[in-house]
Amino acid sequence: MATPAAAQERPSYGTGGRRSRFRPGWSLMQYGLLTFFLLVFLVPFIWIWSSAFKESREIARDPFGLPATLRWDNLQEAWTTGQFDRYMGNTVIYCAAIVTGVVVLSCMAGYALALLPLPARGPILVVFLLGLMVPFQSVMIPIYYFLQDLNLLGTYWAFIIPGIALRLSFGIFLMRGFFRGLPPELADAARLDGANEWQTFRQVMLPLSVPGIATLVVLQFINTWNAFLMPLVFVQRDELRPVALGTLFFFGRFTADRGLIAAGVTISMLPMIVIFLLLQRRFIEGITAGALKS
């Protein structure tokens, strides 16, 4: 797999300053465009956030003005009637379980497929490759009835287990690519020192693959937190819904109360925005690496 070098190294910032042969006109236009797009991406959010502080009547009268007073009632009411505490808790459970599952299994399988002796490695890879290409809709109906046979519908497992299984292909290919980039001599050295395969993997190779794991964690975390179709089909009970799905049903129930809807949507997106702002570099590097290496 060809991998642009840039994806592995951190981009070297700050070299642009030396070459300052920009004309002021260009610079002005550049900032004009940048600001225009800044508004395009930001205004819808600001509109929703400010609506969250307004009464529905205020929104109807003046949809775009800033709220007259900061009314926290909407947010409070949305939090309690929308049961966002429960949805958030569920989402945390799903994320913890699915991300852990995908990462552990992908690391082990990716390691085996990259560095351990295996018969029929090629066919196994092809079969896992299939998982990258088959869309979820093609398996969702049988999985649904399979989960029913297993009596797992109506439990957290109904989303967790298929959530892990269907993301394995991606994780395995990503981790395999990563392990193949590590020098195999390290593993050989560890084995000569008397480490068994598990110790070699756990104590030598795994620590070296932390950047790869970080990428996988970020991608799976975003995917799981935002997942919608899989829980919609497999998670039937309100008390088990993750936040994206909970938000959708909240939206359906209170669609006439615009202030409340805006508040619910604001609450729903807040944790992800905060996490993103805190871990921005990781997020962006993870997404980039995930795209370029898969």
């Binding site: 070297s12 070459r19 949809p63 399979f146 598990w198 935002n226 179709l229 938000t247 993103f276 980039t288």
Partner: protein
């Protein structure tokens, strides 16, 4: 499957025991993934193929085997072809749009001007949010009563253009598409931004000295060096485009009058609203075939590019 494979090596005969001791670690590392994957991916996939030959209603015992009846119905199903047409529009515009916008934004921020982090954060923001949120926010933007878009158009004297964007069969698909492009651009943008770091500045300067203008530099120097990144992004957007579901489902549910119906929403409705699990399985296989073909073409393309 694996047990059947024997590989004679350097004259030695491998018994089960030798085979096991040689491959044990590999098997054990692989086993959990393979079991889970077989149960929730391989088995359902074949089950789906089987269901496509039945008239199962999705409840109780699996229905009667009806041979190719679902496939015959599919060929005559206008709604399917209509949905595939929408998928085609979606794939083309939903790929070109983010590519151009993402590249433009990445070029604008290439040299890390002041405020770089702010711009990058905001452009990327929609990418970390759920499609449900994106869909609800854009549903508001397009709302005919209080929506941002119509009010904005009215404010600048373009009342004639404002309309019920999602309720008009001629605009609904494009309206949803705009929301999707808006959300997807951030992703393309950061990948391009990373790709641009490996574009050679010396070549660009040489081109400038040779008298190439900005457009020529972009077309002849920058883009060729990004070709690999472009291929990857295109492939990801294409495959995602064929199976698009979330944003359409939430914004329009496929309506009005099926004008935003795509194969994935149609599959969902047939399975879970119309109770036609058999036919729905047939439809989902079409989606699989398209995705498979697209992926294989992409892989071939990349292999050729890599050589």
């Amino acid at each position: 499957m694996a047990q059947l494979v024997t590989q004679p090596r350097s004259g030695a005969r491998y018994g089960v025991g030798r085979h096991w001791s040689r491959y044990r670690a590999g098997y054990l590392f692989l086993a959990p993934s393979v079991i889970l994957y077989a149960m929730f991916m391989i088995y359902p996939f074949f089950q789906s193929i089987y269901l496509s030959f039945t008239d199962w209603n999705g409840v109780g015992e699996i229905g009667d085997f009806v041979g190719l009846q679902n496939y015959r119905e599919m060929i005559r199903d206008d709604l399917l072809w209509q949905s595939l047409g929408h998928n085609a529009i979606w794939v083309v515009l939903g790929t070109i749009g983010p590519l151009i916008l993402g590249l433009a934004l990445a070029m604008l921020l290439w040299r890390q001007p002041k405020g770089f982090t702010l711009f990058r954060t905001v452009y990327f923001l929609p990418q970390v949010l759920s499609p449900v949120i994106i869909a609800i926010v854009w549903g508001w933007v397009y709302n005919p009563v209080f929506g941002l878009l119509n009010e904005g158009l009215d404010a600048i004297g373009l009342e004639t253009i404002s309309r019920g964007w999602l309720g008009d069969s001629s605009t609904a698909l494009y309206a949803v598409l705009v929301a999707a492009i808006w959300a997807e651009t951030g992703f393309v943008f950061v990948v391009f931004l990373a790709g641009l770091q490996s574009v050679s500045r010396d070549l660009l300067e040489a081109a400038t000295l040779d008298g190439a203008n900005a457009w020529q530099r972009l077309k002849d120097v920058t883009i060729p060096q990004l070709s690999n990144v472009i291929t990857v992004i295109t492939a990801l957007l294409l495959i995602g485009g064929f199976s698009v579901f979330d944003i359409i489902f939430v914004m329009t549910g496929g309506g009005p009058n099926h004008s935003t119906e795509v194969i994935a929403t149609y599959t969902y409705t047939e399975a879970f609203v119309q109770n036609r699990a058999g036919y729905s399985a047939t439809l989902s296989l079409i989606l699989t075939v398209i995705s498979l073909v697209a992926s294989v073409v992409f892989i071939r393309f990349r292999e050729r590019g890599a050589q």
